[in-house]
Symmetry: C2
Subunit: 516 residues, 2 copies
């Protein structure tokens, strides 16, 4: 059934239709801030020394079809997923045990764990923890099945991005579907596009409301005399995806009336401090452009520090520790970041051994737990002899699997028949850095047309990944949940055959959906 | 008094303050569509073959001070000015007489007049006429005076631009004034910026409402069978200021729910037609991307055809005639465009001869007419021997004057002591193409800092020009006025010493105001 939906979609474009659609999308993106800073391979530093130029985010011309049942299920499960990852984060001992094995082989995990241990030793002064999560799925549509199933690709607990731009893509495609009003014809006629609509996308509202909730929950300034308070976005240098982040800060300042500042992770120690004399350890921000005005940071939102390259020296680890030990609510804490490692996903999905999922979700309806469990793709540990190793080393079974580093974040996946040779090429004691996951089969006939950030238009087969956003604020001390919401989504569409690549690289595009 | 206001403004910026302000303005512009397409001198066609890159519109970092009395007076007089230019446009005989002299020496005026005469001969089928006007002023602050006076620079009756971007600059400066909420410090402290606000700028709402009013006044489709109706924006090729125009079309489609299309002036004859069999002469638009769907154009909004270079061949004049003879409401008609010539402004301001102003504004309060008259700077005809020639040829009096071509639109002005030599260098029978205007003296001490479209930041003395928008819909047959509104403004700030240059050239910037 899915194949018949995708077979004739999207409708073909003649040259005039293509010209109109590309021009409209291009101009709309610029008018509405659906933008990125251009890649240095497209615009060199020499040709734009002040970094003033901008270009559209890579975006599909059409929304992609997505099964309605899968979309509804992903939304329905999000607050349960939020709860699950909050509960995992509260169980320091459990995370510690899982990480133990990795600490020898993974410097990044090891250093993160050390930050937590150091702050734990001194004692945390902030027990509230904020999660801005995104759970990524595919509509699993194997040729043997007639009903698409929702399968989780990964769960993001840090720097879950694209909420800002994704809301804009939904607006763009919505306007195109209805344009002009009364006589829609921006798209050629197609049954999937007629009397259909892109679902509401409240990612900006949801994510900002999460940050605002933490800001309020922080309570009054802990300084004497009291200081004005703010939210701090900790960001990377030369961030090309800045307009995605600014969509959230604009909402925070304009709607929630909360001051927001941006600070490079490399400059945290220059512009923030914790007064040694204050045992409450408030995090004080001194804006470099108004150094006499001090702000107390209620909430630190990390859009950096999620990948090893964000830590260039010990000073960066010192900065991360500095944030962690402060009274600011972290989004996320180190522990919450670690809970998003692939290995946690694998342990939860393990078909044998203790039922961690049921334990973490104690008190949740059995049927809901079972629905959540059925979003897991089969995945295996390679640290021990067993089924995972067997599947990975045999080329015929490997061909239906992907090998992923257990760390959060895309990159460096090994696919199918390349797996056995890859494993043989690395020392066996490093195998525990990897997990083996059964391949998810998105609709094979899916196609779309994308406008890249350099203006090239590419058409062809695509793989779509749906992310659903959720926010949760909980007390790490007793697991008490103060706020748990779901809202907003991301459709990311990659050109078929491109196994990797964030949206920012131009090999994958922001998209939206029409349900079927 | 004015000088003391400007003397210490804007506040000085240290490097960190400048870095913050420039970065904030740059990112805000991109996030909110305060954008232009980059000049080919900055981004070459080769480096961006698809024309996908965009950059911020040139914009000042600070709002500029402007006298409150002048601002209020400009707003108060706008609907009177609207009425005046509608009345002038209704008096074909009067305009014809004024143009008569120019027809020999000015091909552009002559060709426009011919379009009108040809359509007049056939008979106009549309008597409604829409004006989207902008009256431009300076705060005249001669060293001899203590009170600034409002003096008109020019009155625009065609393609009055920058309403869309100007509203955005007002929002940008407003946000900066209040940012962050509760502890504003985006700007260094300064009395003019404290507890002050940028006045509301409703240019987008006002101009779009004008177009929407015409659309509604057009009434039902005149085709058999009836067609869906639309507004048509007629635009130039490679328009760099497209986002200014899109701000109006977005408002028309999203708020007024009116279909809007853009069409290059060079493609009018390819994609529109007037059915020969329909004596009502509806203008039919065939969108190239959906040629089977026809729309009837209620309102033609010209953002092209205002300057000689928009007419590259007879085919363009044919296209202009085609629009003019159609049933669509023109914004503007040829006659209304001609009424905006500098020579009309000069005739109205002439200190001797018949009181045209009082005649056109018959029925208007004497005091209001006199207030309007006092916005005229002294200006003189050079076609005859008399005071104008005397003032222009004597270097000592010329030094307080500017020589302007009588045609609408900036460019080619001759300043001060260059005037006598210039006049002597051209044949005397061409002098009638020029008018002499006494110089307006804006505040001499005014300064600002501008972020150009190429990212350069320039600081220095500036000259500010305030434009006020107005819209009017009237019946050319009897002068009956159906709609007459004022709303929205533009502050344009030029670097001192730069006599010419539209905003798009980067020598002048979009600005906003704080009143004093």
């Amino acid at each position: 059934m899915a194949d018949s939906i995708y077979a004739n979609y999207p409708p073909a474009l003649n040259p005039a239709q293509k010209e109109f659609l590309v021009r409209t999308v291009k101009d709309w993106a610029t008018q509405n801030g659906l933008m990125v800073r251009p890649a240095p391979t497209f615009v060199s530093k020499e040709s734009d020394p002040h970094g003033i130029l901008a270009t559209n985010a890579p975006v599909t011309l059409f929304p992609s079809p997505f099964p309605k049942t899968c979309f509804e299920e992903a939304k329905a499960l999000q607050t349960v997923y939020n709860k699950l990852y909050a509960a995992i984060t509260c169980n320091e001992e459990w995370i510690g045990k899982i990480m133990e094995d990795l600490i020898d082989v993974d410097d990044f995990i090891s250093n993160l764990w050390k930050v937590h241990v150091a702050v734990q030793r001194e004692g945390y002064v902030q027990t509230l923890s904020l999660g801005l999560f995104r759970s990524d799925y595919m509509a699993h549509t194997p040729s043997t099945s007639t009903t698409p199933e929702l399968k989780q690709v990964e769960f993001n607990t840090i720097s879950s991005s694209f909420g800002g731009l994704s809301s804009l893509v939904a607006s763009l495609h919505s306007e195109l579907l209805d344009s002009p009003l009364g006589s829609p014809m921006a798209y050629p006629p197609h049954p999937l596009l007629q009397s259909n609509a892109v679902p509401d996308n409240t990612a900006v509202e949801t994510l900002s409301a999460g940050l605002a909730t933490a800001h309020v929950a922080y309570g009054p300034s802990k300084s004497q005399p009291q200081l004005p308070t703010c939210v701090l976005f900790v960001v990377q240098e030369n961030e090309r995806n800045i307009f995605d982040q600014l969509a959230l800060s604009r909402q925070l300042s304009n709607v929630h009336k909360i001051p927001v500042f941006r600070l490079l992770s490399s400059e945290i120690l220059d512009h923030t401090f914790i007064p040694g004399s204050n045992p409450l350890r408030p995090l004080i921000y001194r804006p470099p452009h108004a150094a006499e005005t001090h702000f107390e940071v209620t909430t630190v939102y990390l859009r950096s520090f999620y990948t090893p390259t964000d830590y260039k020296s010990d000073r960066d680890w010192e900065a991360r520790t500095h944030l962690e030990r402060s009274a600011a609510i972290k989004c996320p804490t180190v522990l919450n970041q670690l809970s998003g490692s692939k290995i946690v996903q694998q342990v939860l999905a393990a078909p044998t051994g203790p039922d961690h999922l049921a334990a973490f979700l104690a008190g949740t309806d059995e049927a809901v737990i079972s629905r959540l469990r059925s979003t897991f793709a089969p995945q295996y540990d390679l640290s021990l002899s067993g089924k995972g190793r067997e599947l990975a080393l045999n080329p015929s079974t490997a061909s239906n699997h992907v090998l992923k580093p257990q760390r959060e974040g895309g990159g460096n996946n090994i696919y199918k028949t390349a797996i056995p040779d890859f494993l043989k090429s690395i020392p066996e004691n490093e195998w525990k850095r990897w997990i083996l996951m059964e391949l998810i089969h998105p609709p094979a006939a899916a196609k779309n047309v994308a406008l890249r950030s350099d203006g090239e238009v590419l058409a062809g087969g695509v793989i779509g990944e749906l992310g659903v956003y959720g926010t949760i604020l909980w007390d790490q001390k007793d697991g008490n949940i103060l706020h748990n919401e779901q809202g907003g989504w991301l459709m990311r569409t990659k050109a078929e055959g491109v196994n990797e690549g964030g949206v920012a690289t131009g090999f994958s595009s922001l998209d939206s959906i029409v349900l079927y």
